[in-house]
């Protein structure tokens, strides 16, 4: 009896200690590259393959198969290099990356969006690609869109290659427009035209809302530009968030909910996302990202996209992802080959375009032609037209704090706890401390 008790006790201890250790290592979703490659052609002596690790947030959940196809194509071309990928959800990605970089256990190559790229590059965590680029005679930087590639530079040095871009346009439900007898949005539309249409489209009894734009930081920094406003001055030394134009813009954003009743409030939305509501035919006009194309493709009504209406000028979001090499990598050359292939090769770009996994930032016209041919939406060219009036995020090093501070003030204004003036003045005070 006693023996059994002590045995059980030991077992419990061991298990608890083991599980304690195990939980420190987060589950890793790496997948071994598919089986063995074709029998190696034995012209050269077989080299031990080098493994390059890649961490991504944009592949899961919809594009894992596409990523695997790209890896397979890469490994076929580069038999000496294997790629191990790991996907992490967007919400946890940067917390995980930061911790890994701190403990020098990060992947050789990892994805960074433009906003966070600045943070990591300025903290000196990324590999300077200039030498790799100079050494690689086969590499031609002109295959990339120049603006997009230069976004991944810091102080004139290349710390990442641009992988993809996306933007936000206005989606509209054609069937609702037809039913209400309203003309479809065209590029000449302003906020006033949008409002007039939204008022006709809104049908409170049917739970149909004319227009929707979220009230949060990202929407705000773009919408103020549609009214000639800015968050910071050019070199980000001065906070301009409480300007007259910006107060006017925020008032407009909130009025659509509270004054004109053409946009649902939080209680009316009840936890549904704007995308879900659009897809359910409950929102006639929605400002949303082109990453929704896939999800909306099987909507049971006709829809299309248009340029966003502005007030004094047009402005559209521009988001970009890039891939960087870790400063601590042991195989910079292999890592470079993978990053180059993944961001700019014909094969990878074709896979990306075919599945609408955002858009490759490449200059190749034939690729873009393939993108434009797809439908819905019919007016895909709008995606490129929007780039003429693009707004990049007002990135500063304390980016997350910036988004939280402004986000909270906007919400207080939305809930009527503060006037738009007061909310933006308070945001200004907090932001001034942040950029000091």
């Amino acid at each position: 009896m006693k023996k059994w008790t002590s045995f059980a006790l030991i077992l419990i201890l061991v298990v608890s200690v083991l599980s304690g250790c195990a939980s420190t290592e987060a589950p890793v979703a790496t997948e071994e590259p598919a089986a063995t490659e074709e029998p190696a052609v034995t012209e050269e002596p077989a080299v031990e393959p080098v493994t390059v690790k890649y961490m991504t947030f944009s592949a899961a959940p919809d594009h894992i198969a596409d990523l695997e196809a790209m890896i397979a194509a890469f490994e076929k071309e580069n038999p000496g290099i294997k790629v191990d990928y790991e996907t992490v959800g967007w919400d946890d990605y940067f917390t995980k990356l930061q911790t890994q970089v701190a403990s020098k256990t990060e992947a050789d190559t990892f994805e960074l969006n433009y906003e966070n790229f600045v943070t990591y590059a300025s903290k000196n965590a990324l590999y300077d690609m200039d030498a790799l680029m100079a050494k690689d005679t086969a590499f031609d930087p002109s295959v990339f869109n120049e603006t997009a590639l230069n976004a991944f530079q810091l102080d004139g040095k290349q710390y990442g290659l641009v992988e993809s871009f996306s933007n936000v346009v206005m989606f509209y439900n054609k069937d609702l427009f037809d039913a209400a007898g309203v003309a479809y949005p065209d590029p000449s539309w302003t906020w006033q035209d949008e409002l007039a249409a939204a008022q006709k489209l809104t049908d409170a009894d049917a739970g149909v809302w004319g227009t929707f734009a979220p009230i949060q930081f990202w929407e705000f920094y773009k919408t103020i530009e549609q009214n000639g406003g800015k968050i910071f001055n050019e070199d980000k030394t001065e906070v301009l968030i409480d300007s007259k134009e910006n107060v006017e813009t925020l008032t407009w954003m909130i009025d659509k909910i509270n004054k004109y009743n053409v946009t649902p409030n939080d209680a009316k939305m009840s936890g549904q996302s704007d995308g879900d509501m659009f897809k359910a035919g409950k929102i006639a006009m929605l400002r949303s990202g082109i990453w929704m194309f896939g999800s909306f493709a099987d909507a049971d009504f006709n829809w299309d996209i248009a340029l966003e209406p502005g007030n004094t000028q047009k402005a559209h979001h521009f988001f970009s992802n890039g891939v960087a090499i870790s400063k601590n990598t042991k195989n910079p050359d292999a890592a470079w080959e993978w990053v180059k292939f993944y961001t700019s090769s014909q094969e990878a770009a074709e896979i990306r375009v075919a599945s609408s996994w955002e858009l490759p930032a490449l200059t190749d016209e034939t690729l873009l032609a393939a993108y434009l041919e797809q439908s819905p939406p019919e007016s895909r060219e709008v995606v490129f037209e929007a780039l003429n009036t693009l707004v990049v995020p007002p990135v500063i090093e304390s980016w997350n704090e910036l988004t939280d501070i402004v986000g909270q003030e906007l919400e207080q204004a939305k809930l009527g706890q503060k006037t738009p003036e007061k909310a933006l003045q308070d945001a200004k005070v907090a932001l001034e401390q942040l950029i000091q």
Binding site: L9, S16, V17, A267, K268, S270, Q408
Partner: protein
């Protein structure tokens, strides 16, 4: 011989304790010590650790976000603590009766306790949904237009408190139940002979005899509710407009969203001091006024 025996006993004990002691040292004790050190520094995990002295602490004292979070935490405690205690005591007294199926009910009340906080929060988020939630539907049946609950800044904390009380009733009930069963039956018999009524029985026998149980319940709940986080994070993320932001959330945000390890450590230590002060004061009060049968 006795000495030898003691030595063997200590050795056995040490061997048994070693595994969990090791784990505790690495994952609890060392981090606690290093967080104290870090609280005097500025560190973003990647860069160098810079010594800043008391700067983090003086910032904690001035930071309006921390003031807000502390206020909301105290609001939570003020709503949660009395409700969970009164309801649990009531449930415990009911479950202490000789009823049919009482064991079944005891188990039933305990189910929320063993359910994960994330699951509970998700379910309640749905129950409290202003348009489609069952709570507002039931309210509408008796002619009440339900509030926006979690999307309404004035009601969100009440929603969080409601959920927390619901989840913790089972745990506190079990403690009270144990306390009730400790009360010797002869006290009630004597009272019955003296002809006291139900309220007097409760007021002069049950409640005083439960005082050490109550002390335990208050201590445990107070410490736990100062650290309220999971339900808030899942249900509201501190919103709407920061109306439910709490202390631990500020620690989390500063550490893992803003990468200010030093500042986050300082907030943790301030929270520790607050909890310690409350518990200490409560301990003193218990000694002064409490009834104890020891």
């Amino acid at each position: 011989m006795v000495g030898f025996n003691k030595w063997t006993k200590a050795k056995t004990l040490a061997i048994f304790l070693l595994p969990s002691l090791l784990g505790m040292t690495v994952f609890v004790i060392l981090p606690i010590i290093s967080s104290l050190g870090l609280s005097f520094t500025k560190w973003d995990l990647i860069g160098e650790i810079k010594w800043v002295g008391m700067a983090n602490y003086s910032r904690v004292i001035k930071d309006p976000n921390i003031h807000g979070a502390l206020l909301h935490t105290l609001q939570f405690i003020a709503g949660y603590l009395p409700s969970v205690m009164i309801i649990s005591l009531g449930v415990a007294m009911l479950l202490n009766q000789k009823l049919k199926g009482v064991v079944f009910f005891r188990a039933l009340y305990f189910i929320p306790v063993i359910t994960s906080w994330v699951a509970v929060s998700m379910i309640w988020k749905w129950l409290l949904n202003p348009e489609y939630g069952i709570v507002n539907y039931l309210l509408s049946l008796i002619g009440i237009a339900g509030p926006g609950w979690l999307v309404d800044a004035d009601w969100a904390m009440i929603g969080v408190i409601l959920t927390s009380v619901w989840k913790d009733i089972g745990f506190i009930t079990v403690i009270y139940l144990a306390g009730l069963q400790e009360i010797p039956g002869h006290l009630y018999e004597a009272a019955a002979i003296d002809g006291v009524n139900g309220w007097q029985k409760f007021r002069h026998i049950t409640w005083p005899m439960l005082s050490s149980t109550t002390f335990f319940v208050v201590t445990i709940s107070l410490i736990n509710s100062f650290q309220v986080f999971d339900q808030v994070w899942v249900m509201t993320e501190g919103g709407p407009a920061g109306a439910t932001s709490v202390m631990v959330q500020q620690i989390y945000l500063n550490a893992f969203r803003y990468y200010k390890m030093g500042y986050a450590s300082a907030i943790s230590w301030v929270l520790f001091i607050i909890i310690f002060a409350f518990t200490f004061a409560q301990n003193r009060m218990q000694k002064k006024w409490g009834y104890s049968d020891e």
